[in-house]
Symmetry: C2
Subunit: 770 residues, 2 copies
């Protein structure tokens, strides 16, 4: 079983998305738009700020029980026995579940082949599930958890890749500690490339574990009605994240499962797959005959729901004096925690710039720690960390400006995908407009030195392999007889403004005010199929289907009106509750009357997502710029300015666009400076299982001076709306731009991330001594 | 503004339904059916019996308040002042609402022109709304209601039609005490008809008020999110019963309103229109910023939510010796309570039998009592009470068997609708098969006399003017990639099994097992338009749309499979998750692969209801048979046997068919024997405002020996499923059949209903004296 991003990579590399035949009538690109592109508040802003929005955490059902999970406290251990007798007698406790409970012996697919069980006696990290309790309230459940007596046999553990690759290292899985043979790819001949180069550099870069910190932790509420089950889940996909894998795990018909997630408090990739909490809640709900809510605590969230793997990447690069890249060779060793597969850090290295000779080899090791899950552009901020620092190193060596160097190696055709042209290749404009807006040349040249606070300017480019989106996606557009429109989609709004964008696209296509459009989403019983929200594919996957559905509705109504008014359909437009002749609004057909005359009170358009073009590659691009101050006495780095130039095709909503890029930069700032998982070498246990010690950026860490430039390449090729994904490319190059700025400030290169004060001080001290 | 049944009558008499042009491809009638026609349990039986089903009463929202209503305790009064100051200070009270509260001065349409306000100072019956309270719990709300001080000016009142028609009677409305000019209709020449007759009889029949007693009382839960509102309402129609009239009453865009009613505890016509409780809850929810629940008490339900009007009907009828009806002349005076319009009792008199000369005149009076609302076949059980007793009187006079007499006057063409033929005219078979199954002739001839317990056998025929159903109705059928199907419809399941029938029809059309089909209904945000559930039109309105939608889905999948398997589409069928060649199941195309190849994961068919044929009239028919024992000492009537022969086109589910007819007969039994509203002549107040004194039949009142005969006329004309409505014709002739049986038992005719013991004793005593 492949995970979401592995399947994405497969489909992208095979071009599967492009081969889907689905003949639909052609729709021309929009000319001038009325609504799309504006900066508008979210359609559900009121619900979100007033508390009316119902998140999974808010679901309260009559008779509902609260569950908690007992997790292994050791990095590596074997459960010898579980004694639940005391817990069962505690006040409020209704049910205690272990791996030996009937029906709970369920194989679990952490990544590829079944590696674990729902409650696996072989606990491979601090956090593996051992038992669960359902009680009248959450406090009783947690008290009972503490009363469960478990006898563990502690096993030797391994928590870093260097130890993991030793032959005598403790083994996590039968197949050993690697997830498989090294993943390799190549084109051209790197030896030849290095021979042609005037300069060849090699450097090793290291990144640490970044943990997903969604505001809303993972969790589920599950209710059975006979053999049918309803699941409210904090998920990035009610269909592929819950409905289908849950039905498969439980051996149930899909049609007996309903999954709902109307509001969602963040996931960043950690909620793309079925989680154990969902199945545990379901088993306890079935046993007790009562709804069960199981929300993870913040500590559990930090321990057990996912992270971005660490990597140790050695990159060798060759360049000619004129700035032409000749070869790139990457060897990467990554860890993925106890179970998952992990993502490629190499793709971007072979794709972002024109380079004929590329060789990549990546190996991933299991360690006794919380497992990796997909994390916002899996592999890309990591790969970017080495590629974009190396690009600066090369530029410096050949005496070229970093922006000019990147422009020199800009490509309009995909290096990895058969040299097919990009549907739009906005990187060039990102570099040009971004550097202009940032005042790049002026800032670099006017830089003063001296004093213990050193100022530096850095930049980095980046891209994301997803972002095209594609079929299947079904959007239903229903117009009622007063002209009111409801969109139905199974898609999540994972915080990015998808619902607002869908409403804007429908309003645009229908020529109606946004107030006419309402949206219902993410309920498998009533909203049609949508893919998981991940891979920056929701917007470009969904809104073309929305446009198609709206177009079908419009065509039907205009056809009826044309017949009734005896005018050509292309002279018509909607106006309030009527179809009118453009420019002659008194020539009108009231929608209610048109519908009545055709025996209906609503018209529904089923919009299917068109296939992507087979002769183009669609990817989004970005260039981020950073200004930092480095305190050479304390080693502290302060980011004083960030500017992002992002190209993701057409901007649907300028406000959510900016917000999303700002969020991506903020996450990149954490990746660059503060976020890392700390494991205790003595016990293998995680030290910073709280938000005090695991440091995500707060308002005070974010530079007040931040700015987002939206590059619109007028992409008419990618899909019928012209948009590409944004969530991930918004995050990819930020950390690297900060690292490059640090180098610019103090002349030492922080190859190891995050850039902690002690790292800076060590590097400075080495430099001084050196 | 016309009410539901008035609009129905209009559309039927104008043939509007038949004129809707909606060209859809022809679908042939089913041949042999696999599922349709079987006796199957309801698809939601588990939810209903387990308590999992969420009725409006079950809706509990965080922070929800409970409301109660202060009602005028006088039959007729003017509110001089309302002092809410004490109530406002009571524990838990959050808001007190009166007609003087901002935004509460809302005109209210009880029937035609605006006759009242939401809180009208002119209270026209005991039960008119005066004020409302919202509090933390219902007990606090009721306590506060009692603390509101109201100064009333009591007015003279009128509670019967005889007083109401006097010129010096207290006036309820500015226009006087009649709802308008007498409603008249005629064909032929009754004078000529009476002249041609061998026998002419005239008799006056009286019926009393029957009150709706739904298990779930009226009520609403209303929640505002900014300017959007969600209403959970115990309603017979989320669209026409709530969404549209609520938006109109509040002056809101329809699209900002969402109405939901997934489970429903009975209405019988009393929940077809927007109720004051919905608007009161909405106003209080908006004022308080919290959800408000307002469920009526049983007492309020009996007082204020509706009833079947009483009528005093004088029917004159002429017949030839051979049994040919020559003329029918009806004059009816009815009451409708304080506000509503009331329904025609005359239609059936002019429609059920072949009769060339008919004259009808009906007048309705306002009285100071709870208003009439549509009640299961409005007017028809009442009209049937006089027509079917008169038929027996005529039969006796000319010495013909009552069944033979009715068969003699049987008609295959609609008497009122331009003599158009019925799409199916099953009355003949109802009479023949019903009397055979009942053992009619044998029972009547073998009857013994003597003793104080007299046995009698009676029958009555009946029909219903609705029951055709028609557009608009939209049903959405979605097949997911595993072959699972979800039906979406805005239609209510008002207890009749609509959801089950819809699933059976979809399963039949798709050739799939019923387990594959799931249904979601009655939520205006996610389910498409459906009409109010009333008029016995839901099944024949909805299921043809369901069949159409399923047919569209099947056609799409079969087309794809035919292409893939290179066979003609008409050789294909569904089998589990695949399309297979009939008889060669190894030639198969897996649905998931078919969908994937066409870029979708679900296929949705939008089924619109086809228009009805313009050259046919569709109505359902019934003949009911009763066996009674009359105790000549006490006057008690015991119904010992009931048999119904009902013809409503194709039977979809034999179990819900039988249940519905049984329910109709039971309600008819109450109408015949026990149900009546008792008003106190001194005060005008209702005496029997509880279920002890207002007597609906219980299990002990229903004869254990009851039987339902389903006549299937193989109607291929009415619609593409062939079914007609059942709910109302199931109720129409029962009471009359019991009255006729009483006459057969004791030789006195109970022209006044209900047939109370004292009535029997009076009649027997008059007969003895006479």
């Amino acid at each position: 079983m492949k995970d979401f991003y592995e399947e994405l990579e497969d489909s992208l590399s095979s071009g599967a998305g492009a081969q889907v035949p689905h003949p639909q009538e052609k729709i021309a690109p929009w000319g001038e738009t009325r609504i799309v592109g504006k900066a508008l508040p979210r359609v559900d802003a009121y619900e979100r700020v007033s508390g009316a929005a119902e998140y999974t955490y808010d679901v309260i059902l009559p008779g509902m029980l609260y569950a908690a999970t007992l997790r292994c406290p050791h990095a590596h251990a074997m459960v010898k026995s579980v004694d639940t007798s005391a817990a069962e007698k505690m006040p409020g406790v209704v049910s205690v579940l272990t791996g030996k409970s009937p029906g709970a012996d369920i194989p679990w697919y952490g990544g590829r082949p079944a590696q674990s069980k729902l409650f696996d006696p072989h606990c491979r990290y601090e956090g593996d599930e051992v038992a669960a309790v359902a009680a009248q309230n959450p406090y009783q459940a947690w008290d009972a958890i503490k009363a469960i007596k478990v006898e563990y046999e502690k096993l030797p553990f391994v928590i870093d890749e260097e130890t993991a690759l030793k032959s005598d290292a403790p083994k996590l899985h039968e197949g050993g500690n690697t997830t498989g043979a090294p993943r390799t790819s190549q084109r051209g001949d790197v030896a030849k490339g290095f021979a042609e180069a005037d300069v060849v550099l090699e450097e090793t870069f290291v990144t640490d574990i970044q943990i997903h910190v969604p505001m809303e932790t993972h969790g589920s509420v599950v209710k059975w009605d006979g053999d049918k089950v309803t699941i409210w889940d904090s998920t990035q996909g009610v269909y592929d994240g819950v409905l289908i894998p849950f039905a498969r795990t439980m051996g149930m018909p899909i049609n007996n499962v309903r999954a709902i997630c109307r509001y969602f408090g963040g996931g960043f990739g950690s909620k793309l797959e079925l989680s154990k909490n969902t199945v545990i809640a379901a088993l306890m709900a079935r046993r007790t005959g009562r709804p069960v809510k199981l929300m993870l605590s913040r500590e559990e969230s930090l321990l057990a729901v996912g992270n971005r793997p660490s990597a140790k990447m050695t990159l060798k690069a060759g360049v000619k004096k004129d700035g032409t890249l000749t070869a790139l060779q990457l060897t990467s060793i990554a860890t993925c925690g106890a179970y998952s597969g992990g993502a490629s850090v190499g793709f971007q290295v072979g794709e972002l710039y024109k380079c004929p000779n590329v060789q990549i080899s990546e190996t991933t090791f299991y360690i006794n720690a919380g497992r990796a899950r997909a994390f916002r552009a899996p592999g890309f901020p990591t790969g970017n960390w080495c590629l974009e620092q190396m690009m600066d190193m090369l530029a410096e060596k050949i005496g070229m400006d970093p922006v000019d160097f990147r422009l020199k190696n800009f490509t309009e055709v995909s290096q990895s995908r058969k040299n097919l042209p990009y549907s739009s290749a906005g990187l060039k404009q990102c570099l040009i407009e971004g550097s202009q807006a940032f005042g790049w040349k002026e800032a670099r040249s006017a830089k003063k030195s001296g004093g213990h606070i050193r100022r530096g300017f850095g930049m980095a480019a980046g891209m994301w392999q997803g972002g095209a989106g594609g079929p299947p996606y079904t959007a239903e557009i229903r117009m009622f007889n007063d002209g009111g429109v409801i969109i139905k989609t199974g898609a999540m709004d994972i915080g990015t403004g998808t619902k607002t964008a869908a409403c804007m696209v429908a309003a645009e296509e229908l020529g109606m005010p946004l107030e006419n459009i309402r949206i219902e989403n993410a309920d498998t019983a009533v909203t049609p199929y949508a893919q998981n929200s991940g891979g920056s594919m929701t917007l470009p996957g969904l809104v073309p289907a929305v446009r198609r559905g709206a177009w079908l509705v419009k065509r039907q109504l205009f056809e009826w009106a044309a017949e009734s008014l005896k005018v050509p359909a292309d002279t018509l437009e909607f106006q309030n509750n009527a179809v009118v002749v453009r420019g002659s609004p008194d020539k009108r057909a009231v929608i209610q009357e048109l519908m009545r005359a055709h025996g209906v009170n609503d018209v529904i358009g089923i919009g299917n997502r068109d296939p992507n073009p087979s002769d183009k590659v669609t990817m989004p691009f970005a260039a981020h710029f950073a200004e930092v101050e480095v305190n050479t006495r304390t080693g502290e780095v302060k980011v004083v300015r960030l500017l992002a130039a992002n190209e993701s095709g057409r901007v649907i909503n300028r406000k959510t666009f900016d917000n999303q890029v700002f969020g991506g930069m903020t996450m990149g700032l954490g990746y660059a400076l503060t976020e890392k998982r700390v494991l205790d070498r003595q016990t293998g246990k995680m030290c910073n299982v709280n938000l005090h010690d695991y440091k995500v950026p707060t308002s005070l860490d974010v530079p007040a001076d931040h700015r987002v430039i939206a590059i619109d390449p007028k992409d008419t090729e990618c899909n019928i709306v012209g948009c590409k994904g944004l969530g991930e490319p918004a995050h990819v190059p930020t950390a690297s731009s900060i690292a490059n700025a640090v180098y610019d400030a103090v002349g030492v290169r922080p190859t190891r991330g995050p850039i902690e004060p002690k790292t800076i001080l060590e590097l400075l001290s080495k430099k001084t001594r050196g």
